[in-house]
Symmetry: C2
Subunit: 647 residues, 2 copies
């Protein structure tokens, strides 16, 4: 799509955006504030702009008279960029241009890190755990009548340098017939051992040359959603992917309620069956979409948190939620996928991502493996933020991890108008530095219904930096705006007046909301601090941050640093890997190196239980400020605050 330049006056700021982008989103990107409340439906009529040069498409609304339209006024939320254009933001008073430009920080999300398949190839690591080898055997005769299995194994030794081979009983059963029916030309499917001196098991044997049809499934068993990808091991490509809600949701939203359900009679079996149902229906979809023969799928690698893993494997999870929080196992052996009910062919093997502890599970280990963090020199902080946040710090030489309960604030819980990131959720925010009037953006550009996690972070960061909220999370009551008010003795800021919402109530941000957000980010930040302190390091030594989980992609990094959720770091050094669990499962399907390494990583990773780490409480209390009790830890923010104070 071609790019057009939008120039905003009187700010004199330009930004290149894609054709078709709305003027208001261009403004947000340019760091230009325009009052706007209705999420882009054109009903509030506040986001008027004046065309100075060039034109836009759309931007007309009932809230704009024909006269104004003729003068060149448009609504910024409805006006789409069609060519280079210069627009003016009408201001009601002569403003100090420098104040006008005190827009907080431009929006900046993390760079997305994709599965690093090319470097895998370059490093010569594209050796999947499962390989197919086509063999053409010499038929037996009177002078050479060794058993069929021996004939095959000897051939693989001599011609392919394959050793320590073992065949499964089903393959032995299949062998005599398939060899003779196919002129002694067959394809064997080999699963390699984890250790170099381990067994290599022949899982399957197929007629003729099937080496071009070698597939694996990567599966993420999330508490909320199940995702699966069908991977072509010949090319490394993902042929199909699909996801669905984990059917266990009906039995509890979070892991703790699921565990409680599992403790009831029959509960564990039920939850196992339900998640299996979801998994099998997702697999059915990707197999149908990719038109792959089930017989060509030989492994399914899955990752999930400790509770999801135990529920799926039908292992009583009751000790996960009880002090001292003991999971059943770290490493699981490979086992037949069918033996746990996965609807794949008889030969398919299930490979389980190992767990670290009750609260740092296979999903996190998969992220650490998939992101390559464990192979890098840099001191990296890996963060998966949700109701529970899992933290891993370290590099190729050492790794330490912990988990903390952030509470549901980032998913909208405990926030009066909080909601999940869905249509109508306020996801971005800006504030007029003079009038304290907001500009809001919603998911889907519809009238707002509530505030999602990333919106909340941006909102609080902007308000804090503009002095609307102090470092203890209290509103400045002396700003002379009617948006800050007290209702039933609770102070709040009105983000959207009720007639501009979908819900016919004022959408507000309250001091208790702020308190909950500060607790959530404080828990995570102090978790990181404690973890680093336990290994003798400090937050300012972190060289790289990896964000995992759905949440991470939407976070405005500078805003997250402003509220003290993340340590201050060059945003270029923050990457987002999305679903780390899926990424790791897929990477493991593609290279046996990960399977080899993960055993060492699991052994090497030190787990800390924060509840058992005395310094955690002190760190937590110190983090119960915006951004922190010591603003020196956030030098860029400190400089901006000081600059603003000088105006």
């Amino acid at each position: 799509m071609s790019k057009c330049t939008v120039t905003f006056l009187p700010h004199q700021r330009s930004i290149a955006v894609s054709e078709g982008e709305s003027i208001i989103r261009a403004a947000l990107q340019a760091g230009v504030h325009i009052n706007a409340s209705c999420g882009g439906e054109g009903v509030c009529g506040k986001c008027r702009i004046l065309l100075e040069e060039g034109s836009v498409s759309g931007g007309l609304s009932e809230r704009l008279s024909q006269e104004d339209y003729d003068k060149g006024y448009r609504l910024a939320c409805l006006a789409k960029v069609a060519q280079d254009v210069t627009v003016r933001i009408p201001v009601e008073s002569a403003m100090d241009k420098s104040v006008m430009n005190l827009q907080v920080t431009p929006r900046r999300t993390a760079t997305i890190q994709h599965t690093d398949f090319d470097s895998l190839k370059e490093e010569g690591l594209f050796i999947p755990p499962v390989e197919k080898i086509f063999v053409s055997l010499t038929p037996p005769d009177a002078l050479n009548n060794m058993p069929d299995v021996t004939r095959l194994v000897e051939h693989l030794k001599l011609e392919f340098n394959e050793h320590r081979l073992e065949l499964t009983l089903p393959v032995i059963r299949k062998l005599p017939g398939i060899l003779r029916e196919n002129n002694w030309q067959v394809t064997v499917t080999l699963i390699r051992g984890v250790k170099d001196d381990g067994k290599n098991v022949i899982l399957n044997v197929q007629a003729g040359d099937r080496t071009a049809h070698n597939h694996a499934i990567a599966l993420d068993i999330g508490t909320t959603t199940i995702y699966a990808q069908l991977v072509d091991l010949a090319t490394g490509e993902c042929l199909a992917e699909a996801g669905d809600f984990n059917g266990q949701i009906s039995y509890g939203e979070d892991v703790i309620t699921r565990i409680m359900y599992a403790e009831k009679p029959g509960g564990l079996t039920k939850l196992h069956e339900v998640v299996l149902g979801t998994i099998n229906s997702v697999l059915k979809k990707i197999i149908a979409r990719s038109k792959v023969d089930r017989e060509d799928i030989s492994t399914i690698t899955f990752a999930g948190n400790t509770t999801m893993t135990q529920l799926f494997l039908q292992i009583d999870p009751r000790n996960i939620r009880r002090s001292p929080y003991v999971p059943a196992a770290t490493l699981y052996p490979p086992f037949s996928a069918r033996s746990v009910g996965i609807d794949l062919n008889e030969h398919a093997i299930a490979l389980t991502y190992p767990q670290i502890s009750s609260f740092v599970g296979g999903d996190i280990v998969a992220g650490v493996m998939g992101s390559g963090m464990y192979r890098n020199e840099e001191l990296t902080l890996f963060l998966d933020i949700g109701t529970n946040a899992e933290l891993v710090v370290g590099n190729k030489d050492w790794l330490a991890c912990t988990a903390c309960s952030a509470g549901p604030a980032f998913e909208g819980g405990g926030i009066e108008f909080g909601m999940r990131a869905a249509k109508g959720a306020i996801e971005d925010f800006s504030l007029d530095p003079l009038t304290y009037e907001p500009m809001i953006f919603t998911i889907g550009d519809v009238r707002p219904k509530g505030i999602c996690g990333s919106g909340l972070i941006t909102m609080v960061a902007v308000m804090f930096e503009m002095g609307v909220i102090n470092n203890r999370g209290k509103f400045n009551r002396d700003l002379g705006t009617n948006r800050i008010r007290s209702t039933n003795d609770i102070w709040e800021y009105v983000i959207v007046w009720k007639d501009e919402t979908q819900i016919e109530r004022d959408i507000v941000l309250t001091e208790p909301d702020l308190d909950n957000l500060i607790r959530a980010k404080g828990a995570i930040y102090s978790g990181c601090m404690t973890l680093l302190a336990e290994v003798g390091l400090t937050m300012d030594m972190v060289e790289r941050i990896i964000l995992a989980g759905g949440f991470g992609s939407y976070i405005d990094l500078e805003k997250a640093m402003t509220i003290g959720l993340l340590p201050e770091i060059d945003p270029d050094r923050v990457t987002f890997i999305g679903n780390g669990s899926m990424m790791g499962a897929r990477m493991s399907s593609l290279t046996n190196r990960i399977r080899k390494d993960v055993v060492a990583v699991t052994r090497q990773m030190t787990n800390f239980e924060l509840s058992e780490t005395p310094s955690y409480m002190d760190n937590y209390i110190a983090a119960m400020f915006l951004p922190h009790t010591e603003i020196e830890k956030f030098p860029r923010l400190k400089a901006r605050m000081e600059a603003r104070a000088r105006k």
Copy 2:
């Protein structure tokens, strides 16, 4: 039982026998001939003896008048030894005492070699593949909350020096509950790898200390019978054993007809199910008898010939009976006993004795392993004689094997009055050197019905040595006895006249019978010769013979050497191991050394297909004589023949 001495006159021969033995069997052992035809029922009345000193119990019959009884006559077959006694054999003419003492050779069967459990203990090899270890773990606390599996594995490492441990998924499922319900005191069942650097898998975990309850099953899957033993791995004892006919018999008597049945639609599944039915019913018996808890049985080690093994494992056996006679596999991986339908608990592992070729199967390998032949210096000939004879020669440095079709002569097939070794079968035989009247012994001491294999061997050996049969298997027609006659142009010897049989027909030995026997023994002997010749050795270099199979225990060794079935060797150097398959399966259950060694033995053993070995036919033709075309190969027999000729 106390021993009594029986002295026979006029031979002046004495023998010590157990109290209660019949006089006639004492005579056989002493090498004294007494005419006798009715098998010990007292109806022929021929076996009269005269008490000279001491007395016997019984010995009265309708065939003996009161007057004769009062004179001291008794029937030797009914008279039981009760004290030291001297008896006289009444002779109708004055005989040359030296002729009278020309009894062939005393009966001599092979020494029975039992499972060599004591030497196993002495050598420190009593380390079963499956061990139980009782552990008492430190419960987790806040500072030590490693996963349950890790806790167990670390304990086994530190306290028991156990490494490379892996738990199965079912054990992981069981672990959290059982540890907590039993105060962290449990018993783990460990199956060791075959290789020293292999995995040691924890198969089971049980409450409290169950180390005294560690059991294994050894199973012999024979074509005719299934035997099983329940072995106590704590003591090495056999707690119970049972056997039954292989249910497959209804689908064919021998392996070839079974294979043919398996080739029909559904045939393989049927035969698998049928043998499984027999196996499970035999297991049920031994488990009930021994009162062992199924949960304490962790392995079942089985041995069978190649066809039996493939049928049991549901592997199409069609190529076994077709040139070039290719079996499916040599080595089989360990697999879950339940996965093939064996009715043991979930954790039990089935271990399969490896095969060498289509006709040298796991039963023979088991015998080689169980007998210890593969560990000895001596050049040993291992022989399992049946319709098919399997031969192994070698020592600890090398082994070679082959199989030959002996035909069913030794099981009564192709012999006019041949029968299996059952009640009424003539099992032993002696001949009056002057009158050529026979003394016969039947199984069960009842009137004869036919001749079993061991009886046949003895009969032919005695007749040959006494000149009744020449070295080409033809009767001497000039001996002046009405027992040698021609019926329908076929020459025969009447063993028992019809009124002394159960079948109301004369029981005869015919020249075609002799021909069949010579073919059978010739096939085996020439098989041995060919095998030895292929490795550059000759029969006279054989230092030790091991006989396996039901047949071997009854064979009179000297007689078997006389007819040239076995090479001439000191009978002390012949041992009988009985059911070698069972012995090997049991030994494997007791020592992991066998499991380790058998892989090397299997690889090391060279298999020869006689049909592909050109010298076999020449050797076979040379062996088509009694004992052989070169009597020099049998120097002791030659000396006896020459001595007899001088009389």
